[in-house]
């Protein structure tokens, strides 16, 4: 809202210069965006949507008067008396719900000319283009009092009646901008006896437009339903100064003042005479709102020592009527211009903003409730810190997905959630599987020259269950490709592989104290390589899967290097996390290590070997660790050479050489029996 500083001083005797005024207006809620320093300073104010009353110079003047304790000087807005022969016109409001008041005044003998320079200059200063005296005056009053008016060329109107009604199906009219518009019954129109002559509250019709030949005018000052104006304006794609104000709720009482002020300016600047009394159809007259205000609550809510006299004074300056008969409970009458004030809290805001938010002392308040973090937060922090420590960077992606991604990466349950009104043609669903976005990140970074990356994301995925509302579940997604350690001058750097990922996930899960972790190749998701993927479970419950992407996905993303992913159910992880355990005594007696190397058939898997060793029923056998492995090819299918380190210890004594050797013999015996192990040197 542009406010011409000098124009403003007509209504309030300001001494504060524009900069200071701007600052003070900001501190009562009319934010200064900037000051244009042309011939006269113009303040650009950002008016919040609840303060329609400040969309004009007089409204801003009222605020200024309240700030500086000055007197407000209204212009003369009394209705001028008719002179000479009175015309007999009627106004009929067919739809009083959409139009609660319609004032009309007739003027004759008007001479169209340029408006005086001072008015043109003021209009121009606030971005309005001068046209002629009649149009300029209606615009002037709009910017002065905030009420939209419209002037019709009286001679272009048929009959002696104005009807405010809904448009009829099939009706059309040409608006001032020259566009022919089809009207439908949702639009409110101003019509004469023959046809619509204006789109009510939005734009006048071209036919009855003021021209240089106009001598007689019907001046309209009305009040229209904000919702109806908004809907119609939206439908026809118009936004005018008038519709803008009606949408925000113009003051119904102002209609009369505006028409009076406008008429007086016409008489002064365009000649002519008033040819009718004020025609005022006012079906929607409502009593002014009164609110009870607990005086003690003012200080209680604000937290500053606001005196009652101060509060009453400011409210009155702002146009409220304050009845202080009852000491601690005032009855405050709200002026019709302030439709935004409904409750006690609204009144207290009026007092607070004029008291000055900056004067309110800053306190912390008291609290008596513990600050709690959700139970899963510790797990989340653990996962993020651990992965970051291993060189993974955390990503944040948006929540959308394309159909292609939905196809390639099915979700975990239900069906994908559709957006009814997506913003892009491709991203019409919500993320059903966590990985596609991470692969987008991977693709992006590979395109920009990175060879190695490790990324992870903790976020929600969305699905529609068979029955019920869409649901959200948290997941952990990981993607890695390239080197597992940075290549440098000391070492070449190795390619990250499936076992790196397996080791990291295993360590991560153990770190979260997830119990009974097991891996299998059953039930792998379709996007994983069938021979290079694993599902991981805890106590048999599926936690997720990981591995290398399959060829089809690689092709889709044009990956030229191996890309590994992991996809875990975060909520399942949090569920399976065990509590911290207590301390376990350090061993009193030394442990003994024995290394055994042996060869088995290629087909023998390591978990079998491990199970055989651990199944030896030797309580003193604490751990078995694989420390060397290599494949031997041969004509008969090939073998694997394994070297394991067995660790023995007892809680009650130092083990003897003989005991340990006996243990070894038993373990070796079992290996020979169960998996046909052949010892090596």
């Amino acid at each position: 809202m542009k406010i011409n500083y000098r124009w403003l001083t007509e209504y309030v005797p300001l001494t504060a210069p524009p900069q200071a005024l701007g600052r003070d207006l900001t501190m009562v809620g009319l934010t200064l965006d900037g000051i244009e320093n042309g011939g006269t300073p113009v303040l650009e104010l950002d008016i919040t949507s609840n303060r329609a009353d400040c969309l004009c110079h007089y409204g801003v003047a009222r605020e200024a008067a309240a700030i500086y304790d000055l007197n407000l000087q209204p212009p003369d807005w009394s209705i001028p008396e008719p002179a000479g022969e009175a015309l007999d016109w009627q106004v009929e409001i067919a739809n009083p719900k959409l139009c609660r008041r319609y004032c009309a005044l007739l003027l004759r003998g008007i001479r169209i000319a340029d408006s005086p320079e001072w008015m043109q200059e003021r209009l121009r200063s606030v971005g309005q283009r001068p046209v002629n005296n009649v149009v300029d005056i209606t615009n002037y009053v709009l910017l002065e009092l905030g009420h939209p008016l419209h002037a019709f060329d009286l001679q272009k109107l048929g009959g002696r009646k104005i009807v405010v009604r809904s448009a009829r199906a099939g009706e059309s009219m040409r608006t001032l901008d020259g566009l022919e518009r089809r009207l439908d019954p949702s639009a409110l129109v101003i019509a004469d006896e023959r046809r619509p002559v204006a789109l009510a509250g939005i734009m006048g019709g071209e036919e009855s437009e003021i021209s240089s030949a106009t001598t007689d005018i019907l001046l309209e000052s009305a009040h229209f339903n904000p919702l109806s104006i908004r809907r119609t304006a939206r439908k026809v794609g118009l936004s005018t100064e008038a519709s803008y104000r009606f949408e925000r709720g113009a003051d119904i009482a102002n209609a009369e003042r505006a028409i009076g002020r406008c008429a007086r300016l016409f008489l002064e600047l365009a000649g002519g005479r008033v040819a009718s009394p004020l025609i005022d159809a006012y079906p929607g007259r409502q009593p002014l709102r009164t609110i009870s205000l607990r005086t003690a609550h003012i200080e209680r809510l604000i937290g500053a020592p606001v005196s009652e006299d101060f509060a009453a004074g400011k409210l009155e300056a702002l146009g409220f009527e304050v009845d202080r008969k009852r000491k601690h409970l005032w009855r405050v009458t709200v002026p019709s211009v302030r439709q935004d004030v409904e409750l006690e809290a609204d009144l207290i805001e009026e007092v607070a903003r004029h008291y000055g938010y900056d004067r309110v002392p800053a306190t912390l308040g008291r609290w008596s409730t513990p600050a709690l973090l959700p139970a899963w937060k510790a797990g989340e922090t653990g996962i993020r810190d651990t992965l970051r420590g291993w060189g993974y960077s955390e990503t944040v992606n948006t929540s959308f997905a394309t159909s292609r991604e939905i196809e390639l990466f099915p979700g975990y349950e239900g069906s994908p959630v559709e957006l009814r009104n997506p913003i892009s043609e491709e991203e019409t669903r919500l993320r059903w599987n966590i990985l596609p976005m991470l692969l987008r990140n991977c693709r992006h970074n590979l395109n920009h020259g990175t060879r190695s990356l490790r990324l992870f994301e903790l976020c929600k995925t969305y699905f529609l269950p068979a029955e019920g509302q869409p649901a959200e579940k948290k997941r952990l997604g990981i993607v890695l490709t390239g080197n597992r350690s940075a290549p440098n001058w000391a070492s070449k750097g190795q390619e990250a592989g499936l076992f790196d990922l397996k080791g990291e996930l295993d360590t991560l899960l153990r770190g979260l104290r997830i119990p009974e972790i097991s891996y299998s190749q059953e039930g792998l998701p379709s996007y994983l390589h069938p021979h290079l993927g694993l599902a991981v479970r805890s106590r048999g419950a599926l936690l997720g899967g990981f591995g290398r992407l399959n060829g089809a996905v690689d092709e889709q993303y044009k990956f030229k290097q191996a890309v590994l992913v992991a996809d875990l159910d975060l909520e399942a992880l949090y569920l399976h996390m065990q509590r911290e355990e207590g301390y376990r005594h350090l061993p009193k007696y030394p442990a003994v290590h024995r290394d055994i190397s042996f060869v088995v058939d290629r087909a023998v898997q390591y978990n079998t070997v491990e199970a055989v060793v651990l199944g030896s029923e030797i309580p003193e056998l604490r751990t078995v660790e694989l420390f060397d492995l290599y494949r031997l090819e041969s004509a008969d299918g090939g073998h694997t050479s394994l070297s394991i380190r067995l660790t023995y210890s007892s809680d009650s004594r130092t083990l003897t050489v003989e005991e340990v050797s006996e243990f070894d013999r038993r373990v070796i015996g079992r290996l020979q029996e169960s998996v046909a192990a052949r010892l090596r040197g």
């Binding site: 965006d33 809510l301 900056d358 002392p361 709690l372 970051r388 291993w390 960077s393 009104n421």
Partner: protein, 340 residues
């Protein structure tokens, strides 16, 4: 015979002077002090052929010589060992200007850094963290928060809809409805997460972004408490010298409503392009919880008051780190992430 001893001493010293390394030292030691064949041992055997009256003196002087030689050889040994060590160290000398072998480091995302900071700061002021759904009902997102049915924000223009009365939350403010309905006052709660608006992505808009909303409800909560709490938080999130300004504004779920500015972190408040010469940067919206919201959740508005605020994490991250395009926050380019 004194000549013999002097001669021996002289020859020994000559040998010592010529010893260059530990091998040389060993040769001298063997030559002079070896048990069987060492020169001093040989001299000792001559004792038998010396005049018995002179034998004690001879023996004594020989022993003195032996002690002297042993001491000299010890010193020589120490010296040569030190030299040998130095030589070895010299030989194994590395080019220390070579770069260190850096481990892999993971990086934090700036949005999540801001998020973690916010949770931490408000936790310290008694706020509990509550996560609420991104998929919301119309009531929780709008009606319960006193946003009227015809408000433009409810348009399918601005909000993503999933179905009748089902949408993607446009702000985190629904946390108020969830928390207040689930519990009873007093309470202090914050909620953080993704929010959605139908904005075309550009340098300052993303259809999916992040916000944090918080509120406190108790008897006797004032606007002053709101001010103090936010000042404290903002000084910790930005810098201790940051000034905080509350000015009146309007949001339908608070009354009185306010907008909160911080002194421009780029120019310190003197005025620059970033703060449009005003010296202030708008950072969040706040106010006292609207009585209608209390009515919706069934709290006695005569007894309780509360304050609430909402801030955009993207905006804060962009201001704090000077990031000029919001899309960078969702692109996850490593060259960007590695800066944090």
């Amino acid at each position: 015979m004194p000549d013999t001893f002097e001669k021996l001493a002289g020859e020994f010293e000559g040998d010592v002077r010529l010893a260059l390394d530990l091998a040389g030292y060993q040769r001298i030691k063997d030559r002079w002090l070896a048990r069987e064949k060492g020169l001093l041992s040989l001299e000792m055997r001559k004792l038998g052929s010396i005049d018995p009256a002179l034998r004690p003196e001879f023996g004594k002087r020989l022993n003195q010589l032996k002690a002297r030689f042993e001491s000299a050889l010890d010193d020589l040994h120490q010296q040569l060992k030190g030299t040998a060590r130095l030589e070895q160290e010299e030989r194994s000398r590395l080019d220390l200007t070579l770069p260190g072998l850096a481990p892999l480091t993971g990086h934090r995302h700036p949005l999540l850094k801001v998020r973690d900071d916010i949770v931490s700061v408000f936790s310290r002021m008694g706020f509990s963290l509550l996560e609420t759904p991104e998929i919301e009902s119309d009531f929780n997102n709008f009606e319960g928060l006193n946003i009227p049915k015809d408000h433009p924000a409810r348009d399918s223009q601005d909000t993503f809809y999933l179905g009748e009365n089902l949408l993607l939350r446009a702000h985190c403010t629904p946390v108020q409805i969830h928390a207040m309905k689930a519990g009873s006052p007093p309470m202090r709660v914050i909620g953080i997460g993704k929010v959605y608006r139908r904005d075309n992505p550009d340098a300052t808009h993303s259809p999916c972004f992040h916000q944090c909303d918080g509120f406190a409800v108790d008897q006797g909560i004032t606007l002053g408490d709101l001010k103090g709490t936010l000042e404290t938080a903002l000084r910790q999130l930005f810098a201790p010298e940051v000034r905080v300004r509350l000015r009146p504004s309007y949001f339908s779920f608070v009354e009185p409503g306010a907008e909160v500015d911080i002194s421009c972190i780029f120019c310190g408040g003197s005025g620059c392009r970033i703060c449009k010469q005003s010296g202030w940067i708008e950072i969040l919206g706040a106010g006292m919880i609207h009585p209608k919201v209390f009515r919706h959740v069934g709290y006695d508005e005569k007894k309780y008051t509360g304050f609430a605020w909402g801030m955009g994490l993207d905006r804060i991250a962009m201001l704090k780190y000077g990031i000029d395009d919001i899309r960078l926050l969702y692109e996850n380019d490593l060259r960007f992430l590695q800066q944090f």
